[in-house]
Amino acid sequence: MRYLHIDSPRPRIAVFDFTDCEGCELQLANKEETLVPFLNAVEIVNFREIATGAGEDYEIAFVEGAISRSDEVERLKAIRGKARLLVALGSCACFGGVNRMKNAYDLGAANAEIYGRTPKETLPVRSVKEVVPVDLEIPGCPVSKDEVERIVRHLVLDVPFAFHAYPVCVECKQRFTTCLMEKGQLCLGPIVRAGCEAPCPAGGLGCWGCRGPAEAPNLEEFFALARERGFTDQEINERMAFFGGFEGVVVGGTR
């Protein structure tokens, strides 16, 4: 930033994917109106989805996906060893994501269900921080490009970044979205972290919690009011387990 007399170096970044759909990476390559300045702000040394090079001298590693195989564990550890800053990108990397649902089943049975008579080597799904230390987590399924851009602008200047602490409800109000709970749908909005601009409720779909819990959510009251509105514990638990952001949180004691 020249007006601050700060030289903004272009940090060398790399993007890696593990067990995932590569949708978050795609977000990085999205949004044409800012793509060029985005790529100017950083130096991409390794990003399989959009670039040919596979450099090893990166400072910031964006890691997408959950960790579900032993070779992934090794690869992740190697990345951690090289990166000054390791960023978990997307709900899979942050919480295990949709993949985490596998952990609720017997591993062998799950393997057989998917791969039949040619089972693959597999481990219980873990988030990135369950394997190596993580410096920053950007949740979302997919991540919001706006938020990623904002974070990158902070990383470039090496200044701290704060996520919204409040829940999705605020962003529904901003868009004049009629509360889906009032309309009779289940919505995790009151306990999930905002920052997505609440597109799902605006489209008529209650929040599934891809961004994980808001700061200090009032789970007890949320469960009480959801039950009062006729939702079963199973429905609520399935909803919370979907993206893995509520790991360890269970209503009613059974799943």
Binding site: M1, Y3, L4, H5, I6, H154, L157, D158, V159, P160, F161, A162
Partner: protein, 302 residues
Amino acid sequence: MKNLLLPYEVTKEAEMAEPLDFNRRSRLMNTHRVFKAEISSITQLTEKEKLFHIRILDPAERQRFTFLPGQFVMVEVPGYGEVPISIAGSASNRGFIELCIRRAGMVTSVLHRAKAGARVGLRGPFGTSFPVAMMKDHHVLLIAGGLGLAPLRSAILHVTENRSDFRNVHILYGTKSPDQLLFDYQYEQWRRVDGVNLSIIVEEGGDGWTGEVGLVTRLLDRIPIEPDRTYAIVCGPPVMFKFVCNKLGELGIPMRRMFVSLERRMHCGMGKCCRCNIGSTFTCKDGPVFDYWTAINLKEAI
């Protein structure tokens, strides 16, 4: 309780007769236009605190900008944010504004990365000030803990520059450890001012510290206090000024003659955003300087 019936100081005719500036605050203005200013010099005070000299670029605007000790400004780093910062310099200095800033949040981190020559925005000054006019002809106790020395320094500079207006002047300053002492290179200068007593104390001395060890309240024990002729200004974290003010109360100083400066995260400085609101009081326009009676009635403040 001692001094219960002490008369209020309403006899200073000069103050009462001053015509009020009725227009200033009610005039519709461009509330978010900033003074463009340049960071003219940066001094590293401690690991976390830096002193910034900030000069308003336009000479006419620079002349127009005046403030009273204890007031604050909103410092804006365009594109990153705006933060409230108490002015740490002398009100008589019209050349530049001194701001002592701790690296704590996002905006202050950017400021700490900025270099001399950087251009920032300034809005203000905002808020109430220390009652330096009322303090005239009284003994003065200036007490700070930690970063509290930053706002208090504007009062210290006022008192040392106008030494003849005041009776005994005591400056007491305490921090956690010696490496957190702010403005340590200026203590000698303040001490040398005729009739100014400066005492420093740290909670944990460590190797090489030859000064006093303990809490700032300890320093009060050996100061002769004439309660009905004394004003006290106390700046620091709530837990610190609570102990200090209670002690001053025991010594007989009435609560309306003790002044504290409260910290809140103002977002506008104009009593609009409510982020600094405590019940019915806006720290930005009813404060940040409050007399202790008002401060303890803010319930949440202490």
